[in-house]
Structure formats: C-alpha cells, structure tokens
C-alpha cells in the first residue's frame, strides 16, 4: 500500500542552500535513491530517519511530514 504520508522535503532542500538529495542522504544515513523515493511519497522512512531529516533542516517533524490518514491510496 502506498504510504499515506506527504512531505515538504524538496521545498525544504531548496530553502536550505539548495541542498542536493545526495547531501541530505549523507546527512541522514540513507541512499540518494531512498531520499528520492521519500520525496515522491513512495516510501515512508523509519521514525529515526524522519527525525534526522527534520533535524537536518532545523525544523519540527510536522513541518517535514504530513499524515494524510483517510486519503491514503492503494
């Protein structure tokens, strides 16, 4: 089932000195392709990675990820 979580990672990357996907991946300990999948809403990271992403951008978790609950698609 496709994850029911959307995110602002792409926007946050551009707001942070146009951080590349690779730079974000290196900062949180995943591959660039995983960052790509997260941005596209295809993959939900673990809590630990989600918190690391938020910490990298210096924002709270809810500024990065939004739970779409009943709107989730199959």
């Amino acid at each position: 089932m496709k994850p029911a979580i959307s995110n602002n990672i792409r926007k946050l990357r551009f707001e942070n000195d146009e951080m590349t996907q690779q730079a974000l991946a290196d900062a949180v300990g995943v591959t660039r392709q995983t960052v790509f999948a997260i941005e596209k809403g295809k993959y939900s990271p673990s809590l630990e990675v989600a918190f690391k992403i938020a910490e990298t951008f210096g924002v709270t978790l809810d500024k990065v990820f939004q739970y779409e609950g009943g709107k989730q698609s199959r």
Partner: protein
Amino acid sequence: MKSLNMSFEEKSTWVSLAIIIFVFIGYFSQVYEGLISGNLDKAAVMGLFIGAVVSIIVLEIVLHTVIAVLSVKDAGQSTDERDRLFSMRAGNISGWVLGIGVLIIAAYTTMHDLESVWIANLLLFAVLVSQVVSYTLQIFYYRRGY
C-alpha cells in the same frame, strides 16, 4: 541506469538475478540432456555443479566490479533501511516458496525411488526457484518504490 534511478543494491540484485538464471539454465539443460541420453553419472553431475558454482562466483565478481566502476558514487554507499526492508520482505515470501518446494520434493521422493544425485538436484532447483523469487520481488519493490 542513472535515468532509472537505481541504487547500487538494486543494480546488484538485477545482476545476481541475471547470473543465477543464466548459469542454472545452462546447468539444468546439460543435466537434462545427460539424463535423456543416459550419459550422466554422479561424477559428471558433480562436475557440472562445481562448474556452475565457479561460474557464478566469477560472474558475480566481474559484473559487480563493472557496475561499481560505472557508478562509483553509488557503489560507496552501504545498504540502508529501505534495502534491508525490501530484502527482508522478499526473503519472507521466498522462504515460503522454498519450504513448499522442499515439501513437494519430500512427498515425491517418498513415492518414487530416486538416486541421491537426483534428489539433490531437485532440492537445488527448489533453492534456485526461491532465490529467483527473492530477487524478483526485491526488484519489484525497488521499481514500485515501497
């Protein structure tokens, strides 16, 4: 491969899938030909098996070196949580495939009188099918993204 946005682990999985299919199609076709012609004995089957194992080892080393050279940045990455998740999910399902295959073989061999070399080949076939299922599922998860 860059335009397909593949991690090194995904590329590695594609390579391993291709190798295992290629080598063991060759192995089982030779075993089958030998079985039909009646020219195959235990020593010959063992020779073919060792040849298949050596082929796999050599091809894995060579082709993984090639993909590492072609994607230097990605090759330096270690497996991440998504790689481990996909591997575990695929392994969970392929484990069932192997278990069912072994049960079928066990049932078959209790009803038919087979030499040990043929029982070993049936078990090897079950292992290969489960590994192909595992690699295929991992690729499916990578392409789907989740």
